[in-house]
Symmetry: C2
Subunit: 181 residues, 2 copies
């Protein structure tokens, strides 16, 4: 991560990453398919965490609420303590088209997994897909704000505001749509 920041992603070689980390190249490739994967190694664990959280959410929760609760738990338990890492990673990804594409694909994969988790809660389609996709959109918007604006708000707080905004926006201008708590 330091290397990517110092020299740019394109100009950093696997040999340099391995050296900085005190590994041989062979060990590096035992853990990562390529140098891009270093930036995405947490994606699998995050997905497992979120899927378990959606499945374990209290049964009466509506689909979008189950997604919101899971993302809120990830924000508090996983991301909040790693803000500096998240900011550095985001800057590297934003500067490289190929990495932006990989990030998109990981998020889409995550949405598919969350829709699956909702189906296991008995949610039917298209509700399951729509709730998962809309939830991921709310998360992405919140995450970008958290990374871009170094304020005092926690990711959880920004995330809740983003879900409120999503509910308002998709309320389609209905006057009865109100922010909740």
């Amino acid at each position: 991560m330091e290397l990517y920041r110092e020299r740019g992603f394109d100009r950093t070689t696997v040999a340099e990453i391995a050296e900085r980390a005190g590994l041989t190249e062979r060990t590096f490739f035992r853990h990562f398919a390529d140098k891009r994967e270093v930036l995405f190694w947490g994606a699998g664990a995050l997905q497992e965490f979120l899927v378990a959280a959606v499945e374990g959410a209290p049964p009466p929760l509506a689909p979008l609420e189950a997604i919101a609760v899971a993302l809120d738990a990830a924000a508090a338990d996983i991301f909040e303590a790693r803000r500096r890492f998240a900011c550095e990673r985001q800057a590297i990804i934003a500067a490289n088209a190929e990495l932006r594409e990989r990030e998109l694909i990981k998020l889409a994969t995550l949405a598919v997994a969350l829709a699956e988790a909702l189906r296991r809660r008995g949610v039917t389609d298209p509700s399951a897909s729509l709730a998962a996709e809309a939830g991921i959109a709310a998360f992405r918007v919140a995450f970008e704000r958290w990374v871009d604006e170094p304020g005092t708000e926690t990711l959880s707080e920004i995330l809740r505001a983003s879900f409120d905004e999503l509910r308002l926006v998709t309320g389609g201008g209905r006057t009865e749509a109100r922010r909740r708590g």
Copy 2:
């Protein structure tokens, strides 16, 4: 498209595509960067159509409604007459991971362009991004249903149902959330 269906995307060469279309390879590459682009050549025109439709939507329309109106126009004016093409294209894309990724990226690019169009209507963020992303999610779900289920419903009808479902799902179980019209 015929060739992709007959032999599979991976086994079709640019030389074969050019021959079938009565073109030289050189002419082919003047129009398309690579053989994948043949499947996405309409994406630019679609984006222009949708951006113009969002910008031209009646001013009082809420952000998500402006997106819905634009997608509805595209469904009726662009897609409805091309259902067979859409089905064949979808089958080819579904069978190839690289094409699925490119499709995702094109849809994400489209969402960014629609958020931009909303901002030009005076919509602020995060509403603009959320409305665009949620709208694209509703469109994707509807499009897949239209392609997968050869029924009598038009894409416009399925799309409207998908937006209704989106509003319900993001209503978060509020009892006052009701289908509209």
